[in-house]
Amino acid sequence: MSRSGVVASAAVLLSVPAVAQAHLVNSGLGPFYDGALHLLLSPSDLLGLVAAALLAGLRGARAGRLTVMALTLSWLLAGMLGMRLPVNADLTWLSVVSFLILGLLVALDAKLPPVAVASLGAFYGALHGLLNGSALAAMGAAPSALFGIVLTVMVIALLTAATVVPVRALWARVVVRVAGSWVVAVGMLMLGWLAQGMA
């Protein structure tokens, strides 16, 4: 796919209206698509996912490949674990802090080695996979819903990282860093809302 195609793909995915759901949405197309839609409608999952992919893209092709694989695999494995051994603790704080840190690293254009970026991606994937798996178990959802989520994770991470990897122009890299600063800003506001008990 050409670069413009990748950009357009990312634009289409990002333009999907993000609505948070406390339960698995019913796409009408079966559990696989319910899972895929669940991720697309969960901004708390998407922000960190996009931030991790942006960070990987900024660090080059190798970091991009490693991160997409680590993120996807950890999300899948932790999701399966969560479906078997659901976690009941409220990990919203950890989730917000994790995407805040990823956004900060993007904003700073942190020069991390590819393995470190992939490790951060793996941690984020494991955390959200565990949360997704636990939620699916609580709802009695079919395992294919998890596969829907994970496949969507992979597509978004791949498209986002692939869009950023070839970016060399200063202004374009600045745009990516500004996006990171926006993720940080949302994270800090969310910490405030959580402290107030409104999120």
Partner: protein, 207 residues
């Protein structure tokens, strides 16, 4: 020309992709079995909040104008620093840490930023980022904490941050006229307008 060649030409990747985009945009949305409330409202509320207050708008735009005057690297450092510090101010407000003179601080931000644009004042990047960061805390403290009942906090925050960033972008894009002599003068005039607006709001805050 064979039929295969004709089909291959018609299936040019660009055209194919355009078709996919059109198809995506006209794809019918499925009806939900229940009604969600507060989600889109949260996003739209956050998105509209920064543009609903003129004091906030002129200061945000002035950040972009000043960044454009200063050039690289301030051009991007200021819009990166501002949202983060603004959110920090919002977080302070949400966890109950008071900030005295918030409205005065917002009005002063417009006065100072307008004056900096009017005078084409060139400071170091660190000093410029410091000034912008201090004012951002006031804006965040006042504006980032007004979530309506039943609205989604995450989407409100997202909308708020995006709207603020876009106001900076408007300032930066406008500030690009700085490369022409006439544009420089117009830009300084815009700074004067921001400063006058700030003085008006300052009068309202202290009166």
């Amino acid at each position: 020309m064979t039929i295969h060649t004709q089909v291959a030409r018609r299936l040019h990747p660009g055209r194919l992709w355009l078709a996919v985009l059109v198809l995506s945009s006209v794809w019918p949305l499925m009806a939900w079995a229940h009604v969600e409330s507060g989600q889109a409202g949260g996003f739209l509320s956050g998105l509209s909040h920064p543009v609903s207050g003129l004091d906030h708008v002129i200061a945000m735009v002035a950040v972009g104008l000043w960044g454009a005057q200063l050039g690289m690297p301030a051009l991007w450092v200021l819009p990166v620093a501002f949202p983060m510090m603004m959110a920090f101010g919002g977080m302070l407000g949400l966890i109950g840490i008071p900030l005295p003179g918030v409205e005065i601080g917002i009005a002063v931000s417009a006065v100072v930023l307008g004056a900096l644009v009017l005078g084409e004042i060139r400071l170091s990047v660190i000093a410029a980022a410091g000034i912008v960061a201090v004012f951002a805390v006031f804006h965040g403290h006042a504006h980032g904490t007004e979530l309506g009942a039943g609205q989604n906090a995450m989407l409100y925050s997202l909308g708020f941050v995006i709207a603020t960033g876009l106001l900076h972008a408007v300032g930066i894009a406008t500030g690009l006229i700085n490369r022409w002599d006439l544009g420089r003068q117009v830009l300084r005039g815009a700074g004067a307008l921001v400063m006058v607006g700030g003085l008006y709001f300052l009068w309202g805050a202290v009166a």
